[in-house]
């Protein structure tokens, strides 16, 4: 996964970058499966590898900018910023519960109720679904609204003018 990411950084051919980002998503999804997050994997596969890739290709097709301009190899300002951020994050991890530790607070505070009582309180055997739709159904409403916003937003930004308007615009561009 890391290798893919780094290659995305190096490559200038945007098509390749996009394809690699698809692969990156697939790998991420695989890791999710390994870490028991099947629903997430499901979504990541559909979204990251599918929707996002297709959309990016579409954009690329529309912009016709196949390759990226050549830039200086390393920009130090951003790099140092990134390193600082990374360092803070690593620093932050030092006190974290270890990976997979069943006694971590994450597993002992709120979540147990979902696991223990979801079946009797909500019903569906898929606990993620019951959290998603019932316990935290409001978040999902928000999520739906976000999707709605994005779709309408794309429509607003790119919404096609009808033929007549398009012709007129073209004439203006020509002059």
């Amino acid at each position: 996964m890391a290798v893919t990411a780094v290659f995305m950084l190096w490559l200038r051919d945007l098509v390749a970058v996009i394809m690699l980002s698809g692969i990156y998503s697939l790998f991420a999804a695989m890791i999710y499966v390994v870490m028991d997050a099947v629903d997430v994997a499901f979504t990541e596969a559909a979204v990251g590898a599918g929707v996002a890739t297709v959309l990016m290709l579409g954009t690329l097709a529309l912009t016709r900018q196949g390759t990226e301009k050549v830039h200086k190899t390393i920009s130090w300002g951003p790099l140092s910023l990134v390193l600082v951020t990374g360092a803070v994050l690593i620093y932050g991890t030092l006190d974290m519960p270890r990976y997979g530790d069943p006694n971590a607070p994450v597993h002992s505070h709120v979540a147990p109720r979902y696991i223990e009582r979801s079946a009797s309180e909500v019903g569906p055997p898929n606990i993620v679904t019951s959290v998603l739709a019932s316990y935290r159904g409001y978040d999902t409403l928000g999520e739906t609204a976000v999707v709605f916003t994005a779709a309408i937003g794309v429509l607003v930004i790119l919404g096609r003018r009808n033929r007549r308007q398009r012709k007129k615009a073209k004439r203006e561009d020509a002059t």
Binding site: A2, S21, M35, T63, E68, S75, P102, V106
Partner: protein, 126 residues
């Protein structure tokens, strides 16, 4: 397979990925690549979240017979939402890129900046 990554290694990998993505976002001039970087960044954060939900020896939080250790479903749900938000952002960003390309004729940040300055100058003198 989870035994391969002991301790904090998992988080660190996620962090390295995050930083690669973050670097792409802030250092690269191509707008599409910026968005790709943003995706890398976000996915890395998702991995980070999912990592914390994992319980050693647990399995996917779908109730079944004879299973009593489940991984934490809450991070899964959170990331589910976050992924959706992420793709929504991506699609909006891409739409913007298309429009930027039609009106500026380029999707390189520095060229856009130059054109913007030209616009500013025009505004001042007009």
């Amino acid at each position: 397979m989870s035994d391969v990554f002991p301790g904090l290694l998992n988080y660190w990998i996620a962090i390295v990925l995050m930083m690669v993505g973050f670097y792409i976002v802030i250092a690269q001039g191509n707008l599409i690549k910026k968005i790709v970087g943003l995706n890398i960044f976000q996915v890395a954060v998702f991995v980070f979240y999912i990592s914390m939900g994992k319980v050693k020896g647990g399995t996917a939080p779908i109730l079944g017979e004879g299973i009593d250790v489940y991984s934490n479903p809450l991070p899964h749900f959170l990331i589910l939402t976050a992924i959706v938000v992420g793709v929504a952002t991506t699609s909006l960003a891409l739409a913007l890129i298309v429009r930027i390309n039609t009106s500026f004729g380029t999707i390189e940040e520095d060229e856009i900046l130059e054109l913007e300055h030209a616009d500013d100058a025009k505004e001042e003198t007009s």
